[in-house]
């Protein structure tokens, strides 16, 4: 349906452009229709800086379309990013100039597509463990979305993205535990999620797990060379992490009391806090849940 609207719009633009060859905008449209994106791009760039088309919403819309398609066709990430940025600003300019709203629907559709592509790229970058790119493009997603609608509520996207970012940091920390920078960043990520949505199950659970595993890791590092005073110091340091883990796991448990991983999580935390009674209580609760109720 969007494709049909797009074709109709191009046809409409072609009818409107009665000027002949030599007008870079008309030539850009023809090249665009012919699929010659690179030439269309050069021509439309010339058109929008000309005195004739500089304030023409139609010209900026065409530029937005051409650059959007160039972005889609790009095989190089940096090049694609550049094309997308131009497409976004061109469509913004079109919307600003289009006082009658003639191109609003088409421009908005294309703009939404580009803004969503930022979010999708952020998710892809996280999957590839490229957190810096993920942060950059997620920032652009927010910027682009808010530019079109300053009242847009991005909290759910922020939560979704930041939770996933926290997971990436956690994985990095797990792979290289001597470097606690990733641990701190993971904590910051989950705390950021909880500041937006204190009831977020994933962030509560993951933050608790992060603290718990840090405490366990400290204890696991104890070696035969360590003497009793060192054991005590390590225990005290780990106790802090276990105590930090506890309220988040309790919260996650309160949100879903029959979830097996939180019951096991609480069992483990209390066990490490040397609270055998509470640990046994949660083990019992876990065992009382029939297997089909585990979710």
């Amino acid at each position: 349906m969007k494709r049909i609207a797009h074709i109709l719009l191009i046809a409409f633009m072609a009818i409107g452009m009665v000027r002949g060859q030599g007008d870079p905008l008309v030539d850009a449209l023809r090249k665009y229709q012919a699929g010659a994106l690179l030439e269309a791009k050069d021509l439309v760039d010339r058109a929008v800086v000309s005195a004739e088309h500089g304030t023409n919403a139609e010209a900026w819309l065409l530029r937005g379309f051409i650059y959007k398609d160039a972005f889609k066709a790009a095989t190089d990430i940096a090049q694609g990013d550049g094309f997308r940025a131009v497409a976004i600003t061109s469509l913004q300019r079109c919307l600003a100039l289009d006082e009658a709203g003639t191109y609003r629907e088409n421009a908005t559709q294309a703009y939404d597509y580009l803004a969503r592509s930022y979010f999708n790229d952020a998710a892809r970058a996280l999957t590839e463990m490229n957190d810096q790119r993920a942060i950059d493009v997620f920032g652009k997603y927010k910027e682009a979305t808010l530019a079109l609608d300053p009242t847009a509520d991005l909290r759910s996207k922020e939560v979704e993205f930041t939770n996933a970012l926290g997971t990436v940091y956690t994985k990095r920390f797990t792979a290289q535990r001597e470097d606690t920078t990733m641990f701190e960043q993971a904590v910051d990520a989950y705390e950021h999620v909880l500041a937006i949505d204190p009831e977020n199950y994933g962030a509560n659970y993951n933050l608790s797990t992060l603290y718990y595993n840090r405490g366990v890791f400290n204890i696991r590092r104890i070696s035969a060379e360590d003497e009793i005073p060192t054991i005590m110091q390590v225990q005290e340091a780990s106790r802090e992490f276990f105590q930090l883990a506890l309220p988040y796991m309790l919260k996650a448990h309160d949100m879903n009391p029959t979830r097996k991983e939180t019951l096991l999580g609480l069992e483990g935390i209390y066990y490490s806090l040397q609270d055998q009674e509470s640990s046994d209580k949660f083990r019992q609760l876990f065992e009382e849940i029939a297997p089909e109720e585990h979710r």
Binding site: F119, A224, L264
Partner: protein
Amino acid sequence: MTATRSIRILLLAPFFLFAAVPQQPREAEKDTTAILQANYLYNIAKLVEWKDADMRNGNFVIGVMGSANLYQELIKQYSTRTVGKQPIEVRKLPRSAEVERCHMLFVGRSDLGLLPEIYKRMNGKPTLVVTEYTGALEDGAVVNFVKVDNLLKYEMSLVNAQKHGLVVGLTLKNLAHRVEE
């Protein structure tokens, strides 16, 4: 794979990671108590002297009854070590009050029922009995693990140590949570 799906997978990943935590029996990797107890036992062994000359030769035997994770941890971290010149030998003991001769004997919570008989049989023998229950020193244990302020500590009885021909070093005594003299 869509981006949303990718994010969901990332979000779920730690859930599955954690789901692999304590099972029945507790996963050794996460059994913090077993890790601590193993280290304590090794340090205690180094800070006690066995008066019996026979005990100062051959392997240094640590017997473990009732805690598979502690046994595993001792094997993994300490079985290639020595106490003085004596190589450490860790033995997993069957559930029985008929305990073979060993330098240290740990009896876990699950085998408390056997302890009265074990204390009786160990009476006067050069074995350092370690347990983990309230009132153990009064019953005859030399060292007992206790939980204090969310930490694992130990208490000890110098009287019981003496009965087993053990000389407790000052450091071990000073670092104990409680000493029964």
